[in-house]
Every structure is written in C-alpha cells, then in structure tokens.
C-alpha cells in the first residue's frame, strides 16, 4: 500500500461489505449490509462516495448493468473487490492485530 492509499475506517467497512456480498454488491445492498452487520446507519450518498474513492484507489472495480422494472430500467452499478483490495484488507487486519497484540487496556482512566 503506497503513501496516501491507506484504508479509512469507513472505507474498510464498505470494502468488507463488498467482499461479503460478492456478486450482489451494489450500492443499496452495500448500505443494507453495513446497517445489518455493523448496526450503523448510513446514507446511500455516503456509500457511493466511498465506493468511488475505493475505485480510484484500485481496490474495487465497477460495472454498470441495466436495471429491471422494479427500478424503472435505471442502471445498477455492481462492485467487485480487486486483488489490491483484498491485500489492503488483509494488511489492515494484520496491522490491527499487531497493534492489539499483547495490549491490555486498563480500566479506570488516566494513571495518577
């Protein structure tokens, strides 16, 4: 991962949702997946803005397909995680694991 191409927290969440949904990953499904698994309310605009950043970083690729009658024929944009995206996710996970390794958080606030 180059400089400036780190994964933000929400980017990581969205990328994980895309990876989980596999062939069904489009904007509204990604938003629902985040709400369902992370119990985190988000908007469709925020999801698409994050997905665009991930596309520009090369972590996902997008494909527009014609929509059905349920959406008046409007196109549906599917996302697919790329090998670079998978590497970024694994690196973020390993980074967190290393940082958490051996750490025990003290309860009770600051040391006197």
């Amino acid at each position: 991962m180059g400089r400036g191409e780190y994964l933000g927290e929400f980017e990581q969440v969205v990328l994980l949702a895309v990876a989980r949904l596999e062939d069904e990953a489009y904007g509204m499904r990604v938003r629902e997946e985040i709400e369902r698994r992370a119990a985190r309310r988000t908007t469709i605009g925020a999801v698409y803005a994050t997905l665009e950043r991930l596309v520009s970083k090369g972590y996902v690729r997008e494909t527009d397909l014609p929509g059905g009658a349920e959406r008046s024929g409007l196109a549906r944009r599917f996302y697919e995680i790329t090998p670079a995206g998978k590497s970024a996710l694994e690196e973020a996970r390993d980074l967190q694991a290393r940082m958490w390794s051996g750490l025990k958080l003290r309860s009770g606030g600051r040391r006197s």
Binding site: M28, G45, Y48, E52, G67, S72, L74, R77
Partner: protein
C-alpha cells in the same frame, strides 16, 4: 406507488451525471420494497436518505469533475510557485494589473469618444463645422461667414450657430448671473430636441426688431420660477433686455453635454462682429456619415469674399473647412477637440476645387 417527487428531483439535480441513474434507481427500488409494508414509512425513509445524502453527493460530484479537480491542482501548484518566487510573483501581478488597467482605459476612452452619441435626438448625426485659419486660433467663424454658409450647405438638413457666455437675469427675485448661450432659430432642430413646455424658437424670432425670447433650462425654471407653468409668456430682463420666456427645455438637457444645468438659451440677433460656432445635423442616417467629405466638397465653396481673398492675394492664409462628428466627451471642452470622422479637409484654394456658383 411512486416515490416522492421533491427529494427524487433533489437527488437527480445534485448527483453527478454518471451517478444520477444509479443512485436514484437504488432509492426507487428500496422505496418500492418498503412501500409494500408502509407507504408513509417509505416516504419518510426516502426523504431522510435524500436529505442526508446531500453533502456526500456533492463531494462525489466534486470528485467526478475532473476539470475542477485539475483546476484545483493547478491553483495549489501556482500558489506554491508564487510563494517560492515572491519577486517574480509581484512583477507578474503588477504587469497583469497594468495591462488590464490600460486596456480598460483605452476601451473606455474609445467608447466615449468614438461610439457614444450625443444625448440628443439627432445625437449620432450632429457635426461641428469648423474653419481652420493658420493665422488664427479658435474654432468659431464670423457671423457673415455663417450667414453665407447657411445658404450653401445643402448637404445638411439644418444648420445653427451658437455662442456661449453668461447673462444677468433680473426681474424675478434677486439678480443672478447665469450661464447662457445665444443661438439661431434652427438650433433645437439641429439637435433634435423639443421643449417640454412652450415652444421652440421660430424664424420670426430672429428678424430684426422682433421681441427677444428665451427658452429656459428645466433647472433654471424649477429654481427661479418654482416649476410654475405660468412662467411661459412672462417677461424677464436678460442683461437688461426685456425678454419673453417662450419655453422650457426637457429635464436633463445640457448643452454642451455635462455643462452647468442652469443655463438658458436665448434667440437673438448676433452682432455682425460676433463669432459663432456652427453645428449641423446630417440629412441621412449615421451609416452614410463617412461619405460626408465628398458631398461637402461639392457643396461648400466658401463665401465669395473668402475665395476672392485667397485667390487674389498670393501668400494669404488659406481657409479650410471641415466637419467634425462630435462625441459626448470632447464636445464639452472645445469644438476643436471633436473627433474628426472626416479628416480630409477642403481647401478653398485647392487646385481641385470644384466650380462654385457665383
């Protein structure tokens, strides 16, 4: 059930073109699914999603705008370079500021001098006729020359002479020295201006022995007579001469343009020794104005005594006539400064002089 129109339009309007159908399609699809359970809840959900998506949708649109993104990068790079070379930056900024200022100034002057017509009805057709005499300064002509020219200038629809000055107004309130001009009867016909009240000057006003008459400016009428229409027909003393007010000029009329607004115009009998300036109005449209010198050459031959003088006495300064198309700004200072659209002059002693009527 259809999605709520306002938030749907809002999203369509805010989203980038390439994202518009995708985002609205997702919202419509989810709305249809939720509406099967609760129509009200679905509408509320749609509104919430649309409004909460405004900031992120705008950010997405900004990122999509490759041109703007490139422009932002250029601006940041320019600022970095300017900070690194402040001397060059100052020189470049001053150069550009000077260039812009000079260009603006030139355009303003050209527009005012060459294109903006005088603020009269015949503003784009008024010319100042001048005589050039190497041995004399000034642009005025003698009264006898004016009388001679009036009968020979067939290329113009009207010709008038005027002379400026000031007169003492008495007979109404305190005596006051007012700017005034003395004009020949066709003066307002030349300019294409009609009085707001009363009448203009008639040819009979200039006949010897006729009572003196005056047309007041709106400012003088308002200030000295309280804008009373009964002032028309009243007799006042202008420099001691009983003079009848016959009209009031329209509000805003100034001669020359931008002159003191408190002037009056008096129709009188010019003394033969008095010099006058001449203004004329062209007979056709302004598009024909460049053809003017050719017609002038045929029609102006100068008074006989002028021709006689120049032809008979070698070495006598030649008299030349030319017409200047007057623009707003330069009329004020002097007719000599008028822009000459017909720079070619006619010389009465020129070998190419046309044959003039006796």
């Amino acid at each position: 059930m259809t999605p709520p129109r306002i938030p749907r339009t809002l999203v369509r309007w805010l989203a980038a073109r390439e994202d518009r159908a995708v985002i609205v399609g997702d919202l419509d699809e989810e709305f249809a699914a939720r509406a099967r359970t609760s129509a009200t809840g679905a509408r509320g959900w749609y509104w919430t999603q649309a409004l909460a998506s405004i900031p992120s949708t705008l950010r997405l649109r900004w990122r999509r705008a490759a041109l703007l993104a490139g422009l932002g990068g250029d601006i940041r790079r320019s600022l970095r370079l300017l900070r690194r070379h402040p001397g060059f930056a100052a020189a470049a900024i001053v150069t550009m500021a000077l260039g812009a200022g000079i260009t603006t100034g030139v355009v303003s002057v050209v527009e005012a001098v060459l294109f903006r017509p005088l603020p009269y009805g015949n503003g784009n057709r008024v010319y100042a006729l001048q005589e050039s005499d190497p041995g004399r300064r000034g642009s005025s002509v003698s009264w006898s020359d004016f009388v001679d020219l009036s009968g020979r200038l067939h290329a113009f629809s009207a010709i008038a002479g005027y002379s400026g000055g000031s007169r003492t107004l008495t007979g109404v309130g305190a005596a006051e020295r007012l700017p005034a001009i003395e004009v020949t009867p066709a003066f307002f016909d030349v300019l294409g201006v009609a009085p707001a009240i009363g009448r203009s000057f008639a040819a009979s006003d200039a006949i010897s022995g006729a009572p003196a008459v005056v047309v007041l400016s709106d400012a003088a009428w308002t200030r000295r007579f309280g804008a009373d229409p009964a002032a028309i027909g009243r007799t006042i003393a202008v420099s001691g001469v009983p003079t009848t007010i016959v009209g009031v000029l329209p509000k805003g009329f100034l001669f020359p343009p931008r002159a003191d607004p408190s002037c009056g115009c008096r129709c009188g009998h010019h003394r033969r020794s008095r010099a006058v300036r001449i203004c004329t109005s062209w007979t056709s449209s302004s598009r024909a104005a460049p053809m003017y010198p050719l017609r002038l050459r045929r029609t102006i031959c100068g008074p006989p005594h002028v021709r006689g003088t120049t032809a008979a006495t070698p070495g006598t300064p030649r008299r030349r006539w030319w017409a200047c198309r007057c623009a707003t700004t330069w009329w004020r200072a002097s007719a000599r400064r008028c822009w000459c659209c017909s720079a070619r002059r006619y010389s009465c002693s020129s070998p190419r002089r046309p044959t003039c009527p006796a």
